[in-house]
Amino acid sequence: MVEKTEAEQIQEIIQHYPGQRRHALAAMQDMQHCFNYLPRAGLVALAEHMHCPLVQLYSMATFYKALSLKPKGRHIIKVCDGTACHIKGSMSMIDGVQRHLKISPGDVSADGQFSVETVNCLGTCALAPVLLVDEKHFGKVTLGQLPQVIDSYKPGGGNDG
């Protein structure tokens, strides 16, 4: 099967929606899901399709945390730093992730595999301290288990795919 080019993928997402501005956010979410970030060409094409000024899409893209203008890693690690997790030592958990992957929250690892973010609450305080990798929760994580959890998402690991 021939891989689709980025421009083709962008067009596919955009053409899915009517050319009205109210669909912009949904289209941007699809794009984020498809590319793990919003490519600039995608925003430009979307603005044209929705007949709306580019800066207004840029405004939305910078407003919502779920949207990113910088490429993110293949797997997104969210370390909860809400009140309960904070009390249960999320700070050292963040340090642990940082040490293991050698990146700070907000960055992408050199091999493009991981993004690390801190979030304010995942809503599962009983499991504190909590780690969310992609869609999967890891509760009551200890610093010792951390490398094992992360490595399972590396290529060839049990959770990669």
Binding site: R40, L43, P53, L54, V55, Q56, L57, Y58, S59, T62, F63
Partner: protein
């Protein structure tokens, strides 16, 4: 529709806002983010007044977006309003200590001093969004508020010189705090980091608009009967002469 503002009986049409009606009656309500040609934004929060709709409780509202109603009673200055405006001014002057224009005057008038350490002592912008509104209404909407929270700012797309900006400088003209820099040197204008060529009026020779602005006006068919090659004052003179002759 009849209402009372500071004890003065006023007439108003349904759909009008309290601030506009008060100003017509000669009562000024302080504001920073308001421009009479643009819709109210209720961003600066200085136009707070006490409003009592007929048969209802008194509430504190922003008069620039508060619609009139039959029998409405408005008080534009009371102890409570003064206290609230002082708080608003304290926050505004802390955010934008370098703001030009009315903000400093209001602070003096209300006896407000900046007691906080400002996050940025050179900041002028109060983020009222009047420039964004002006660009939306008059231009191509080349600027908007980007990011959020403490990082929020007025920017062009990707924080680059905006490709769609027409250099009309409406944003700089309406800015109440002098944040947006726009420099004309007679030949060209620089705004938002983009340079524009200024067109000169063939009659008086004064530079009056950018080429992009004239193209925009033609494209939008603003005043099809207008001769856009002339500057506004020469155009008015020409129209006056024609109507005398006609």
């Amino acid at each position: 529709m009849r209402l009372t503002i500071d004890g003065v009986a006023c007439e108003a049409e349904a759909g009008e806002f309290v601030k506009a009606v008060a100003e017509r009656a000669g009562i000024t309500i302080p504001s920073i983010c308001h421009h009479s040609a643009l819709p109210g934004l209720a961003a600066c929060r200085l136009c707070l007044v006490e409003a009592t709709p007929a048969g209802k409780r008194t509430e504190v509202v922003t008069s620039c977006v508060y619609p009139v109603s039959e029998g409405l009673q408005v008080v534009t200055m009371s102890e409570r309003i003064q206290r609230l405006r002082r708080t608003v001014l304290k926050l505004l002057i802390c955010r934008a200590p370098a703001a030009e224009g009315r903000l400093a005057e209001y602070c003096q008038e209300y006896g407000v001093q900046n007691n906080f350490t400002p996050p940025d002592p050179d900041e002028k912008c109060i983020l009222c969004g009047l420039c964004v509104k002006a660009c939306e209404e008059l231009g191509p909407a080349a600027i908007a508020t980007v990011m959020r929270g403490v990082d929020k700012q007025i920017q062009s797309a990707f924080a680059e010189a905006p490709t769609d900006c027409i250099g009309c400088s409406s944003c700089a003209k309406v800015c109440p705090t002098g944040k947006i820099s726009c420099t004309d040197d007679g030949e060209s204008r620089v705004i938002w980091g983009k340079r524009f060529h200024l067109e000169k009026c063939p009659v008086c020779g004064r530079p009056f608009a950018t080429s992009e602005e004239l193209a925009w006006l033609t494209h939008r068919q603003v005043g099809e009967s207008l001769d856009l090659t002339l500057c506004p004052s020469c155009r008015a003179q020409q129209a006056a002469k024609q109507s005398v002759r006609g």
